[in-house]
Symmetry: C2
């Protein structure tokens, strides 16, 4: 197993160290190559993602990423030039984001119920396509546009993946989230594709919800959701909300998948680089560790993935949430649990 | 005071009846003209908003709308052809949506704190501009686009309004919500406008938050927000979430304002037509009643607006929330409180 690791900025390197500690317990033979992409490299060399590095990354089985982003870098530079560039160049069309409320974890909701959902977010289209522009900048007649691009090809492959995931889950339920009553063109495409693919999955029940109404249900009845399929931007918004409802982005893992396996998939915690707490050893590495579990699942190492998940579940059920320990301590506990 | 009333579909007519009952107690001389726009008219005549009706509507001091939308009408027809057409034709650029957790009202959050925010949502641009299209429909090469259009003119007027509202509130705090790290063009315009206008409001403190992170704070610490200014789509999403956090869209009022007063502003509950409970007399008319308070504020009838708000606050603090009474009963209580 050849893994490329991009620790990145802020708390990225801290949580990645623990994630690799846990990985080492289950796959001691994994070959790790580190890439120093992120704010520091950009400051030092102006480089975000050199072609040569991109080429090397392609030559791995998977990528593990900590976080990118730093207040010293103007907004959008690292996001568009590194993180999103990776997702687009490597055709990460399925952005997989499970949200599960683990026993012992406190939700901000008074009565969350048993939350266990997977958001299948489209990862290579929509408003993330970067199709926008400014006209007459800095004049009173300035116009800024952003174009959401949705293709039959792009929507269908992610919808198919979402149906397959729903079919494999006990509840077999899929919710399309969009805003079809306003975004009538993109909404029409998404709705038609879901309808078509549903014909091949009579076992999966399908619901539709507007994105605004979905945020209401996320706080009043999140347990209703099983698999959600949605576009890039709605997925971005809803997965932060789903993470918050299930105890915070300190626990939320994600996979950026090329399900054709032509390119390596990339796994990362949903949280950002959190510069405010970086370097203090207090970031929770659990999301990074759970991202390793998603990575192992993707590479077919299901048993190791289950062991990591079970260790996290045990730790969350038994940890003292008012003082869970620092980054190292949590990593040590998880590594010990995984190897026991 | 000449008011146009569009009861609309579903529970719209039910909640509007109670809202007018309450209005009658404070402004008995108000002249009301009803317009039967909505699903029934569309089915009967194919009309959504005839030019003649639009002309008549313009000739009023304000518009009170119940709700539009019915499952018998394809998604988008009534929304784009009636509701959004009204907002756009009447240049309702400030979509004002207060979210306040009234004492006695239960939030789905375990510890909501004292929530009292106003979302100033842009109302005439962004992804709501209707600038989209389908290419190669029903082929494997179909492309659907949606264009977010943002103008200096459109952003500035809503940002100015938001700053003025923030300056008039005790906390004097304004948060710009956007997704500047991905929507770099529109994000740049919004950020620059906020920065420029802030120079004229040194008394207002300004914060920026990405829309995804905002949903987290909405459920972990909603009390942090004072005034939020954001674009049309983010505002749509966040105001449903803010409404949910403060006890549900049964209580959330909104104003679609043309702050130049060239056109009548329009007031409506944030909730929809709720066809599932229509005709049963169980819809809570409180959001419609609070929309009347916003209407009166806009028309300078501040004392009457305060009386309505105080009556709602009293009713919410004292009502038995497990059996609040039906639509009529709540309307009767509020009417009695307002006139007492
Ligand atoms: C950092 C940002 C570009 C990214 C996104 O918007 O996708 C993040 O919010 C995420 O959800 O992974
Ligand atoms: C019905 C729909 C078009 C509308 C919107 O998206 O603005 C509604 O959700 C709202 O928030 O008023």
């Amino acid at each position: 197993m050849r893994l490329a690791v991009i620790p990145g900025d802020g708390i990225g390197p801290e949580v990645i160290a623990e994630a690799l500690k846990v990985l080492g317990e289950v796959i001691p033979t994994a070959e790790i190559t580190r890439y120093d992409l992120g704010a520091a490299r950009w400051h030092a060399t102006g480089e975000l993602l050199p072609e040569s590095v991109l080429g090397e990354l392609r030559d791995h089985d998977a990528i593990l990423l900590g976080a990118v982003g730093d207040p010293s870098v103007p907004s959008g530079i690292l996001e568009r030039g590194l993180l999103l560039r990776l997702r687009f160049e490597l055709d990460h069309h399925v952005n997989l984001r499970p949200a599960r409320l683990y026993p012992g974890v406190k939700s901000p909701l008074a009565e969350p119920g048993e939350v266990d959902m997977v958001v299948v977010r489209e990862g290579t289209e929509g408003l993330y396509a970067g199709n926008g522009g400014l006209l007459r900048k800095d004049t009173p007649h300035e116009i800024a546009t952003e174009v959401s691009v949705n293709t039959s090809f792009g929507v269908e492959r992610v919808v198919r993946d979402a149906f397959a995931r729903a079919a494999a889950r006990p509840r077999k339920h899929l919710t399309l989230v969009h805003k079809t009553n306003v975004l009538t063109h993109a909404g029409s495409l998404w709705s038609r594709v879901v309808e078509e693919v549903s014909l091949q999955h009579p076992d999966v029940t399908v619901a539709y919800q507007h994105v605004d109404a979905t945020t209401i249900h996320m706080v009043t009845d999140p347990a209703r959701f099983d698999v959600i399929v949605t576009d890039n931007l709605f997925g971005d918004i809803l997965t932060d909300l789903a993470a918050a409802v299930t105890g915070g982005i300190g626990l939320a893992a994600s996979g950026n998948l090329d399900i054709t396996r032509r390119n390596p998939s990339m796994f990362e915690p949903v949280h950002g680089s959190a510069p405010d707490i970086a370097g203090q050893g207090i970031a929770d590495p659990t999301a990074a560790v759970l991202s390793v579990a998603l990575l192992l699942d993707h590479l077919g190492e299901h048993e190791s993935a289950r062991r990591i998940e079970a260790s996290v579940a045990f730790d969350l059920a038994t940890r003292d949430h008012s003082s869970p320990g620092g980054t190292f301590a949590i990593g040590d506990r998880l590594a010990a649990l995984v190897s026991s």
